[in-house]
């Protein structure tokens, strides 16, 4: 039983937020979850294994496993070495999971929010990762 992972009739694409900071990862997951609702598996993978700032491929791999409902996962990462850790993580998960996981170069916060909302309505992994990338162009009306 995985009490913290909601079950839905239709499996949805999951989202992993990989940040150097556990607080950033948790905060982004909180925000995206507020926007998208509780049906999407949103998993935070932040910080090094000892809780300091950094990334850990094992932690990201575990998060990918938790986020995968069978239809794919989009991983958003904050800085270059988080992307490297996410790539390493893909070698640590089962091949079928890795095959349906996409790394997104989209912005962490905006990308996670947009990806989570698109995932919540049943978009497939290609559409969700495309939305995350496109979030770099999100209008903010700064004038």
């Amino acid at each position: 039983m995985e009490a913290c992972v909601p079950e839905t009739a239709e499996p949805l694409v999951g989202i992993v937020v990989a940040s150097h900071s556990a607080k950033i990862a948790e905060g982004v997951v909180e925000l995206a979850g507020q926007m998208a609702g509780s049906e999407v598996r949103l998993i935070a993978a932040g910080g090094a294994i000892d809780g300091s700032l950094g990334t850990d491929a094992g932690r990201i791999a575990e998060a990918i496993g938790q986020a995968d409902a069978g239809v794919g996962v989009v991983v958003l990462a904050d800085l270059g070495s988080a992307v490297m850790a996410a790539k390493l993580a893909l070698d640590m998960v089962p091949p079928e999971t890795a095959a349906r996981t996409r790394l997104s170069g989209g912005p962490l916060v905006e990308g996670a929010v947009v990806a989570a909302v698109q995932a919540s309505i049943g978009d497939d992994v290609a559409a969700v990762v495309a939305a995350a990338e496109e979030a770099a162009t999100m209008p903010k009306d700064v004038g």
Partner: protein
């Protein structure tokens, strides 16, 4: 095709959670659904894409046209009308 012209009363317009709520509601129907900001005069956007909806720049007081085409178009428009009248889940400014 079913069409409704609606006024947006809530403070955030179609941004943040109201935009997400709008997209999730539109996506609950099989019909294709689009939204157009009549006040700004921009092109119609896919109502099932959060980025497309945000791109409409809908603010409080703006009028929007919502169109649905498909087997459940009437239900889709009715649901979106109800949502707009209720401020998209956000408090409606007095």
């Amino acid at each position: 095709m079913q069409v409704a012209e609606l006024e947006v009363h809530n403070k955030s317009g179609l941004h943040a959670r109201p935009a997400a709520t709008f997209v999730k509601t539109a996506a609950g129907f099989r019909s294709s659904v689009s939204v157009e900001n009549l006040t700004r005069g921009a092109a119609a956007a896919n109502a099932k894409s959060l980025l497309a909806v945000l791109g409409c720049g809908v603010e409080m007081g703006h009028r929007i046209r919502v169109s649905a085409e498909g087997e459940d178009e009437e239900a889709a428009i009715a649901a979106l009308r109800t949502l707009a009248e209720g401020g998209f889940g956000e408090a409606v400014a007095g």
